[in-house]
């Protein structure tokens, strides 16, 4: 197993665990954290392919990772704001109980 394959396996494991968390947890904030973990797994992929790529002077992988970090931070902020607003409305963030569209 080369270094690139090790990095890619690590990032797919991270992605799978983040996906498992996002699909199975009850707390809405922890689902958001699972999404953040999936974004981080994608970042690891970008940096791994930059490092093991043909030439390190093409920094497309790094630029993508930088933009991905910024977008993930913005998305976390807005997602958490939505969760706080939903909590204020229904006084719970249990996703299993938010199963009807009528509020």
């Amino acid at each position: 197993m080369t270094g690139l394959q090790a990095c890619l396996l690590l990032s797919s494991l991270l992605f799978a665990i983040g996906l498992a968390g996002a699909l199975t947890r009850r707390n809405a904030i922890l689902v958001l954290i699972g999404i953040e973990l999936m974004l981080n797994a994608a970042n690891i992929n970008f940096i791994a392919f930059w490092h093991y790529g043909p030439s390190t002077t093409h920094i497309t992988g790094i630029m993508f990772a930088i933009f991905s970090i910024s977008v993930a931070a913005a998305e976390a902020a807005v997602g958490l704001a939505i969760i706080v607003a939903a909590y204020r409305h229904s006084h719970t963030i249990d996703l299993d109980s938010m199963n009807s569209l009528k509020g």
Partner: protein
Amino acid sequence: MSISFLIIAVLIVGGTAAAMSLRNPIHCVLTLSITFAGIAALFLQLGAEFVGLTQIMVYVGAVAILAVFAIMMTQSRRGLMLGTFSRNALVGLLTAVAVFSVLGWAVLSQPAAGVTRAVSPVSVQQIGSSLMHEYVLPLELIGLLLTAALIGAIVIAMDRKEDAE
């Protein structure tokens, strides 16, 4: 695969597994910070210095703090008495296992590619100049996006007193 990569990988996977399975949400966020630090260490080892330090500053210093603040603000008394996993947890777990097996097979079935070379960290000047020349449009769009997210998050989470009456 060097010993440092193994240590970082153990840290990352251990932190993630703990983050997605602990009962107390604050403990989850704290173990998540360990994961983020591990990922930053991996970036530094692969020679992406700027991205690794930005990862610590943004994720550990801002996103984790934001998450704990949100958990503090949305704590209900019944919170810890509910189960940690939802009713359909098994389906989610099976989906994740299926995704991981497909991805793992895709990674391992290809012939080993990738050039192993010495790590020469990219300089910040290179990143800066490419941000100003090739990637200037994404830079401006990110500024617009962050402004919209800032204003939107404040408006959504604002405490509107008139709704309470």
